[in-house]
Symmetry: C2
Subunit: 317 residues, 2 copies
């Protein structure tokens, strides 16, 4: 008996992934399409419908009792719409209604992708057992989500935890979001690479100018590469400390490609965090790497869907 299966969708600018997930977070069936990100909205929706159609072909589909969607943002969970920055054909697109119709009226829970990854880390990863946590993804962008009082805190529109776009440098460089000095503007992978290049870092013979290449150089002791990661760490520390000071978290979990840099990022981050997290109630704050992998978006969407089932407790306890 699979009394508590849910369907999960992870919608990004590159791919649309789907799965059937059980109450223990196991993925029992999968489907995937490339995101036709530059096409019109109905074409993108058709890819979603195909993913759901593949899942509906599974003999387990009849046990699916709700659908969880983690989508690139911004989303509006209160309206059931999504407007992913990298999918211009979807603006206030009524994804929840469309998915509900396709699935014959199943309850649908929509959250942002940062919130989904947080749900996954709280359910199965490094935030497990923590009632107050910030989970982040640091890669091309910087996203995140919050667990407060033992429960996921998506906020009214499903966007809470957007730490990448809080300003930690109010006179700083303009950010594409329109603000200045955002955490993402300083700490994302492309900005780590840009800053290293601007300061004179020279890429290796393979010409790789990614943040991963800067991390390799930093590990080898290149001072400009080290400094660029230290600056990213400083911005992350200020943002994490701000979050802890505002809502009292005791752990910050960081995943994503930039987090794969390991000690090059985490060592200066932990050191700098003590400079910004100064009040008594935030001094025990720890920072750890994420544990969930590439399925985090699906697992987190499933966790959100499970919270819609009255007799199941996942991601909130």
């Amino acid at each position: 008996m699979h009394t508590d299966l849910v369907a999960a969708l992870d919608i990004g600018g590159t791919k649309i992934a789907g799965a059937l997930v059980d109450g223990d977070g196991r993925i029992l069936a999968r489907a995937q399409r490339a995101t036709p990100a530059q096409q019109d909205g109905e074409t993108v929706m058709r890819a979603v419908a195909e993913v759901l159609g593949d899942l509906a072909g599974s003999p387990l589909w009849g046990h699916a009792r709700s659908v969880g969607i983690g989508s690139a943002g911004p989303v509006d969970a209160s309206a059931g719409t999504v407007s992913p920055v990298n999918v211009p054909g979807w603006r206030d697109f009524p994804l929840v209604d469309r998915v509900r119709t396709i699935t014959g009226g199943l309850p649908v829970e929509l959250i942002g992708d940062g919130v989904a990854i947080t749900a996954a880390e709280h359910w199965q990863g490094a935030a497990r057992g923590h009632d107050n946590a910030l989970c982040m993804v640091v890669s091309t962008g910087v996203g995140g989500g919050l667990v407060l009082g033992g429960r996921l805190h998506p906020g009214p529109t499903g966007n809470a935890g957007h730490i990448g776009h809080i300003s930690v440098d109010l006179d700083g460089d303009p950010c594409p979001c329109g603000s200045r000095g955002c955490v993402e503007r300083i700490a994302s992978g492309p900005n780590i690479a840009r800053r290293a290049l601007e300061q004179g870092w020279l890429p290796g013979p393979d010409g790789d100018t990614s943040a991963a290449a800067v991390a390799v150089a930093a590990r080898a002791g290149d001072p400009v590469a080290v400094a660029s990661f230290e600056r990213a760490a400083q911005a992350l520390a200020a943002g994490i400390a701000a979050t802890a000071t505002l809502v009292e978290i005791d752990i910050a979990v960081i995943g994503g490609g930039v987090a794969n840099a390991g000690d090059v990022l985490f060592t200066p981050l932990r050191k700098t965090l003590t400079d910004y997290a100064t009040l008594s109630f935030v001094q025990r704050l720890t920072v750890v790497p994420a544990q969930t992998g590439t399925d985090a978006g699906l697992v987190g969407a499933a966790a959100a869907a499970l919270t819609r089932l009255p007799d199941v407790q996942a991601a909130s306890h």
Copy 2:
């Protein structure tokens, strides 16, 4: 019948106020002592006991069913202790236990003073009816508290909402808290006055160099005074936008002496807020003055105490 009276204590560095408050937030009895802030901890506690003793002399005391304490911070609600910065005799002082003993075992709810003011504004003031709100006090310091999902969010230790000590200028001036570029370091009354004086503002013939005097000068068009309030407004805007981006609030309520400057503060604040609150889900954010007055601390402590009574709903709905 007063079936749901509570006792409230508002503990600050200057005075210790107490009241009996009914379920509608009416103050039915009052008591007060000066805080012997520079004395030893037991002397300070004696003043609290005297306030409670005065309240116990009221014929209504028998109806008091719980005690709410709003205290200058930091507090530790999980441990029941307080360590007010301006009361050095109290460090991890077990205030909850002591008050419980004095009151014959009444349940005691402890929150920080910023959280207390938030509870008051949510119950009776400008945040009424808002499920997601930030309430702030901008005066000698900058404090605050949060309402999330319709409920007060004190956090595990009762300190959540400490917006005064989030850094909005990661390379900025050192703050007495140990961090840099905190909202308080830029926007508090003393810092507004300091900055105006440093930039060449000359006080009037009365020699008043307070932020209130700078506000008078700003209203009269003094450009240095205007600029100092604009800088404070910028820091407040960055901090409020960060809070909204992290937890999704739709209103920020500002009280305290600096807020009394009125348009001199609120006009640049509202203008600058649009520069920092850029994401779709924070663009409807409004900023308004607080409505509760000098009794806000008592009313908020009462609201917290009422939440301990199973059959009463105040400040959380």
